[in-house]
């Protein structure tokens, strides 16, 4: 919220809103297709795009005046991926009896 001479943000908000709804429809549609092992990654990719849109535009991370905010967002993501990645590296490389 640091821009003083910015044009209205409303068109962006509505564009993101439409994109989110389209993404929801897309993910439901894609779940009905047989993509083999890619159903999961496709669903997660669409969800991640939607989450990124919400974070960047609705939560105003894009264009945030405080760079530390972006650092906090990135590090939250980093630690989450660390948690998921290292845990799954363990479980996924076990030979199930």
């Amino acid at each position: 919220m640091s821009d003083h001479s910015k044009s209205s943000p409303l068109p962006t908000y509505f564009a993101v809103f439409i994109a989110l709804l389209i993404g929801t429809g897309l993910t439901v549609y894609a779940s009905g297709l047989d993509l083999g092992p890619f159903n999961g990654p496709v669903a997660l990719t669409i969800a991640s795009v939607k989450a990124t849109l919400v974070a960047l535009f609705f939560m105003h991370v894009k264009g945030a005046s405080e760079k530390l905010t972006k650092l906090v967002v990135v590090s939250a993501l980093f630690f989450l991926l660390l948690l998921l990645g290292l845990t799954m590296a363990d479980y996924a490389t076990r030979a199930w009896s």
């Binding site: 908000y13 159903n39 919400v54 609705f58 405080e66 905010t69 948690l83 845990t87 799954m88």
Partner: protein, 236 residues
């Protein structure tokens, strides 16, 4: 240009009455509030992250059983709830914009509609929980999941113990999310009352922005919950 306090601590210069004494500039104050909420949201990411991790482990281990259990969830209701939350995120950004541009009616209306959408979400969740109760899919003594075929594997039936694990995760994850929604509704009720009393100005509307951040985060959690819980294996 306002300068920071003098050595004697007296403020003889003009400055925004909303500017607290330990901040030099209003923008710095706004940034500090936003940063504080983001740090909290980072802890919330890890909070839900642990549950997502547990879900991921067991979904990969018992993929067929989880698919069978997931298929009993109502995708129409789940997708509707996703759309409801997306609409509520739009009304939240509209509320923030209204506060920034001194549009009182839009601010109050947007906050109210956000709350209504939140209640709609919880109502639909209640209907879904009731369906699960009626079908004996609530983990516990009355849980039953016999002779449910595994999608894509004709002739194979889901292991009820593994299905019960899915439903345990389902109820904990969506329950925790619903709890966050209820807390969000409480926060927005407070924002609504403050807005009604005219407390928010373009110079100071920090609670609206911070409350908005919280609400968007709850929306993001659901954006991940919906495909992971409802859409595991829906292809014929």
């Amino acid at each position: 240009m306002p300068d920071s306090s003098t050595a004697t601590g007296l403020h003889t210069e003009e400055h925004n009455p909303a500017l607290l004494h330990h901040f030099a500039e209003p923008q710095q104050q706004r940034d500090a509030a936003s940063l504080g909420m983001w740090v909290f949201l980072a802890t919330e990411v890890m909070f839900f992250g642990g549950l997502f991790c547990a879900y991921l482990i067991y979904r990969l281990k018992y993929f067929g059983d989880f698919g069978a259990a997931s298929k009993t969830l109502n995708v129409t209701l789940g997708a509707t709830n996703t759309a409801v939350l997306i609409c509520s995120s739009l009304t939240v950004v509209l509320a923030v914009w209204a506060a920034q541009t001194a549009r009182r009616t839009l601010l109050i209306g947007s906050l109210a509609i956000t709350m209504i959408l939140g209640l709609v979400f919880l109502g639909i969740k209640g209907v879904e929980y009731n369906d699960k109760f009626v079908e004996h899919h609530v983990p516990g003594a009355s849980f039953s999941f016999n002779n449910v075929p595994i999608p894509g594997h004709p002739g194979q039936y889901a292991d009820p113990h593994h299905a019960q694990l899915f439903f345990s995760l389902y109820f904990v994850m969506t329950g925790l999310h619903a709890l966050h929604m209820i807390i969000g509704l409480g926060i927005f009720l407070w924002l609504l009352i403050m807005a009604w009393k005219g407390r928010f100005t373009p110079e100071w509307h920090t609670p609206v922005e911070i409350g908005g951040l919280y609400w968007h985060f709850v929306d993001i959690i659901w954006i991940y919950l919906f495909p992971l819980l409802y859409l595991i294996d829906r292809h014929p």
